[in-house]
Subunit: 344 residues, 2 copies
Amino acid sequence: MLTERQLLILQVIIDDFIETAHPVGSRAISKKDNIPFSAATIRNEMADLEEMGFLEKTHTSSGRIPSEKGYRYYVDHLISPFSNQQRKGNVIKHVLQDGVFEFEQIVQMSAEMLSELTNYTSIILGPEIYETKLKQVQIITLSSNTAVAILVTNTGHVEHRSFSIPKKIKASEFEKMVNIMNDRLHGVPIVKLPEKFNSEIASIMRKYIEDFDTSYNYLKAAFLADYPVKLYIGGKSNILMQPEFNDVDKIRSFYSMMENEEEIANLLKQNHDGIEVFIGQENKVDAIKDLSLITASYHLGEGQLGTIALLGPTRMEYRKVITLLNILSNEMTEALYMWYKNNG
Amino acid sequence: MLTERQLLILQVIIDDFIETAHPVGSRAISKKDNIPFSAATIRNEMADLEEMGFLEKTHTSSGRIPSEKGYRYYVDHLISPFSNQQRKGNVIKHVLQDGVFEFEQIVQMSAEMLSELTNYTSIILGPEIYETKLKQVQIITLSSNTAVAILVTNTGHVEHRSFSIPKKIKASEFEKMVNIMNDRLHGVPIVKLPEKFNSEIASIMRKYIEDFDTSYNYLKAAFLADYPVKLYIGGKSNILMQPEFNDVDKIRSFYSMMENEEEIANLLKQNHDGIEVFIGQENKVDAIKDLSLITASYHLGEGQLGTIALLGPTRMEYRKVITLLNILSNEMTEALYMWYKNNG
DNA sequence: CATTAGCACTCGACCTTCAAGAGTGCTAAC
DNA sequence: GTTAGCACTCTTGAAGGTCGAGTGCTAATG
């Protein structure tokens, strides 16, 4: 559909625009080393590319900038993703394997590294607690009528929640229940807890525990509530350095979106494996319809565990970023796999 | 030093400027109901007030705006702080006492409420874990060579840290040590832990534990490390709505400061009781030298526990904000006192 | 003698005009 | 098919002009 020359010109225009953020003119292109055509020829080709929807003008006599369709084509066909993988791969590997052993630390560090390497905003979703397994539960009483419930997973993740104990229930009863839970629920995936709780634990407890129904409700509230998804965000202010953020209103809407963690989490939750690129309008959320979002998934054991994402202007260094995310998601999967092997 | 009339005019100018963010002219003032003087008279007074350093001009023929000295005087002398306390006090009280019992939840909610009520950015520091007392420690092994250390305070605060167990130490040894710690350290203020650890625990453990020195180091690393101070920030993007943030560079520097939580924490740590106001240059950190910071402390039991702060433009609604912080810090102290009574 | 009216003056905000420069589209020549 | 040439378009920035808000000063006033 596109001729060789058109491909070349499209690529050069997008590369140039990504670098400079300025519209690209025919003369500038014709002067490049790998372009043996005159400016007039380029102009003709650019007119065709514009007609096909790959390029746009900011005004009638400006140079061309890529359209979203142009970026899409670029990402799908013009990127050779594994160009400079080696060098950066090593950097990441080095940091990730350097004696870090705390799950959440690995993730947080990755987010920061990512935003630093790219100068965009990085978002890492997860680790999804639901994929992990219960290691142990615990109730520690603080006073006659309050206690804190603690839940530890096999990944070393700790969730805790304070709650008040109704007067008529004895602390010793809670202890009994905790023992039963530790006995029966060890190794059960967190996501299966409620189900297992209802089907199995409830009937056992009913036999042993006085005033079972009241206690049961408290227990459920303490241990089975929805745990908030954890978001790790790096370089929130990086994106402000991009020239497209010279508009105060854009900044406002960007930051008010970033405050809504739940929305972001939903945005990132994806089922696909591998890397996905959302360019401008392709995004589902209005607030980032003029940005690009690139997501990759990382794994732990079998189930998908979480998502790494980068948010930047549509004029993003797709080549570099995609390569980087590819590497990082693999590195994280690997690092977490080692962790998992030790702790699963 | 200042005449009655000058005081009145100063107050009117600042009130007006706080409301509108526009320089205030003599004619506008003379038209107000409580001002029986002509514009010319006002002009003379304004010239005097400017000479004394309370007012400034943006250019030779503009209206006046308050200088930082002007704000300082306004805050120190022209505010009657407890004007509309009653109404808002009730709102806060209502929310704070509405069945909330989780310490950190109280704080987080207060931060959000505060930023919502004021449209500025609220920052709450603490609760300082150091003022609280140890309730219980716990080590849960995840695998043959990793474990998670959990520490619970009397406030229901839970700290945890993963660490790896050296091969030569048996898990049972750690268990013994944990038992000793729970025995001896229950009720000890967190801040005194290291001291108590060295003076008392070490010698006891040495008697009972094989290969004490190695284990001891791991234990120290797991339980005695500096716990990061927790910051609760509300309405980060509120401040963007202020007209003084129409400058992209200001936004950049503000947000890059807000990413450095440690710096913020240091900024807020204060020994004073009660409310403190830092106007513009009075702030110690460059990034907020054109903003105002208002801090108040809240308490738990005896020791000071933390700081509530509001960050906004120097053109801040000091009257409202100071009243509000006053109330909120009292409410929080009260709410936390009730919590403490139940859990201390 | 403090207060005020009057007036010349200043400055920012906004608009228009103008020239320069970058870039295009089209036509005609190669 | 490719390219040189040229008229045309549009942005950008500088220069100039007007308007309005507001000041400082002077002289008149109660």
